[in-house]
């Protein structure tokens, strides 16, 4: 898991979505932290702040499960 991407994602969740995520392995979906509204915001913010486009129609829910998984996905796409 790329540490710098995780830091950036933590900041994004905190500042843009106002969501405190307990840790990089916290399940964002089962914990109810992410709903469809925040999910769309999240993808938008990742594109704006990190320059990585993750199209909604291509995304696999498993890649969004935790900050760690998201960081891996972004790492692969950049």
């Amino acid at each position: 898991m790329p540490a710098s991407i995780i830091d950036e994602l933590n900041a994004l969740f905190e500042e843009a979505l106002h969501i405190e995520v307990p840790g990089p392995h916290t399940d964002l979906i089962d914990s109810g932290l992410l709903d469809s509204l925040q999910l769309v915001q999240l993808l938008l913010q990742i594109e704006e702040r990190m320059g990585t486009r993750i199209p909604l129609d291509e995304v696999d829910l498993e890649d969004l499960r935790s900050i760690g998984r998201l960081a891996d996905l972004i790492g692969q796409r950049t």
């Binding site: 106002h18 969501i19 109810g32 709903d35 469809s36 509204l37 999910l39 915001q41 909604l56 129609d57």
Partner: protein
């Protein structure tokens, strides 16, 4: 037939026991099995001391188990109270305290180990409560809406006749069980002997996955809040001529934006589209409008139509009021709120009407239209939210001197954006994320503000009240600035 909701299942269990009643992921429950399992449960509940009129709560993720519970509770003559598994414990506690259940069923204690499949004698009458559904209350305490067997049955019978639902149907079970629209999915399907396909909540997070679900389950009926349809339209998840089995699409709970409706009507031209309207207090829906042709203009206003069979829609000083078969007896143990909302019918002695708080008007063609709200209640993603409930919860957080919650309209699929302006106590500087996390322990996720603004003091009007219009304007300006940046 005793006119009770559980009869709907018994009838099909006798006629077609092998037919599928409920599907959830790999799990299928037949009418025969549903009947037998709920009979066993009803007997176990009786042994555990459940008496007619008792409340029994249940708490479980959406699956076939809570559907068996629901039916078994009714068969024991008790009232079922579905609890939202996504709701914070503090809020669930308020609901449990209010309804004083004999039992709370959970997957750890499912009470499904009874050994006799034989049905119990009916222990309720049609005019008795079947369930209590809790909705947002402006003072911070959720309000329990009591719904009778007869009210649900009246809507189900109208729906069956109007929509032509039958045993070949495969209907969506999108709505969570603690939310009133699910009542029609469930009992409408049972009444028709149709298949109910529960939509896993995760599936609904991604519009393309949801579209695949509809395709693979070959659903014939979709019923949800409009935000889902809007979400799928915005994500372009529906292909031209998609969902060939889908015969009808219905929405209720808020306004479906006309551009999304046009999109759907062009993509799925073989389906029938119906706008339903009505609050929980009048059971599922009270009026309907079948959209006959695709609207020509995205600015066209879609009416809420005319009253469903057995219901009445009327305007009293511009406020939409509802009378008839769906009317709840009132709020659970709250005669004051009941008397405020359920008032005598202006023209029919001895009858009541429910004041919806929605403002409406009647068009020259006799169809009703929504105009707005008379209070601070909003609908976001179909959830009914009293901004006062959020403010009341914020008021209990340490570190805040005061706060105000306003909602601004958006063109996103969620329709409203909840915004919070707050003043921290001197010497503290709580971050929005920390406030949000603390608030999330008190109210469900859909009530959490998306925008936060720290103020040195809240703006006030000449009467000393918080100037909400000004706060709204400020949030709106911020929103526009962020969209154009």
């Amino acid at each position: 037939m005793s006119g009770l909701l559980q009869d709907l299942v018994a009838r099909h269990a006798a006629r077609q026991p092998e037919a599928t009643a409920v599907v959830h992921e790999k799990n299928r429950v037949s009418y025969g099995d549903l009947e037998a399992a709920s009979n066993r449960l009803a007997r176990r509940l009786r042994e555990a001391g459940v008496r007619p009129g008792d409340r029994v709560c249940f708490l479980a993720p959406k699956s076939t188990l809570p559907l068996i519970w629901m039916l078994g509770i009714l068969k024991a003559g008790a009232i079922h109270v579905p609890l939202d598994p996504a709701s914070p414990a503090a809020r669930l506690q308020k609901i449990i305290d209010a309804c004083e259940p004999r039992l709370v069923l959970t997957p750890d204690e499912p009470f499904t180990d009874g050994d006799s499949d034989a049905p119990l004698e009916p222990a309720a009458r049609p005019e008795d409560p079947a369930h209590i559904l809790f909705t947002s209350g402006s003072t911070g305490v959720p309000k329990g809406v009591v719904i009778t067997h007869a009210s649900v049955m009246a809507f189900v019978e109208w729906g069956l006749a109007h929509f032509g639902l039958d045993a070949t149907d495969r209907v969506s079970g999108y709505t969570p069980l603690h939310f009133d629209l699910s009542t029609y999915d469930i009992f409408g399907a049972y009444a028709a002997g149709a298949e109910l396909h529960l939509v896993p909540p995760e599936t609904a997070l991604l519009p393309h996955r949801l579209a695949r679900f509809i395709r693979e389950a070959r659903l014939t009926q979709w019923f949800s809040v409009p935000s889902v349809l809007n979400y799928m339209a915005k994500a372009d998840a529906v292909a031209h001529g998609d969902f060939p089995s889908l015969r009808r699409i219905m929405w209720c709970g808020e306004v479906l934006p006309t551009p999304a409706l046009i999109h759907w009507m062009r993509r799925v031209p073989h389906a029938r589209f119906t706008n339903l309207y009505g609050p929980t207090e009048a059971t599922i829906a009270s009026s309907y409008h079948d959209v006959a042709a695709c609207p020509e203009s995205p600015a066209a206003h879609i009416p809420i139509g005319r009253a469903c069979g057995g219901e009445e829609l009327l305007l009293v000083d511009g406020e939409l009021c509802i009378g008839g078969a769906g009317l709840s007896p009132g709020y659970w143990r709250d005669p004051a709120k009941t008397a405020e909302a359920f008032v005598p019918h202006p023209r029919r002695a001895g009858k009541r009407i429910y004041r919806t708080g929605d403002l409406g008007r009647m068009r020259p063609d006799g169809l009703f239209e929504l105009v707005g709200r008379a209070d601070t209640q909003i609908k976001s993603r179909g959830y009914r939210i009293e901004l006062g409930e959020i403010e009341a919860a914020l008021g209990t957080l340490p570190g805040l001197r005061e706060s105000a919650v306003v909602a601004i309209p958006t063109d996103g699929f969620e329709q409203w954006l909840i915004c919070c302006a707050y003043v921290p106590l001197p010497g503290t500087a709580p971050a929005p994320a920390a406030l949000r996390a603390a608030l999330a322990r008190l109210v469900p996720g859909y009530m959490l503000p998306a925008r936060w603004q720290q103020h040195a003091a809240l703006p006030r009007n000449a009467n000393g009240k918080v100037d909400r219009p000004r706060l709204k304007q400020e949030f709106q300006e911020c929103q526009q600035a962020s969209l154009t940046s």
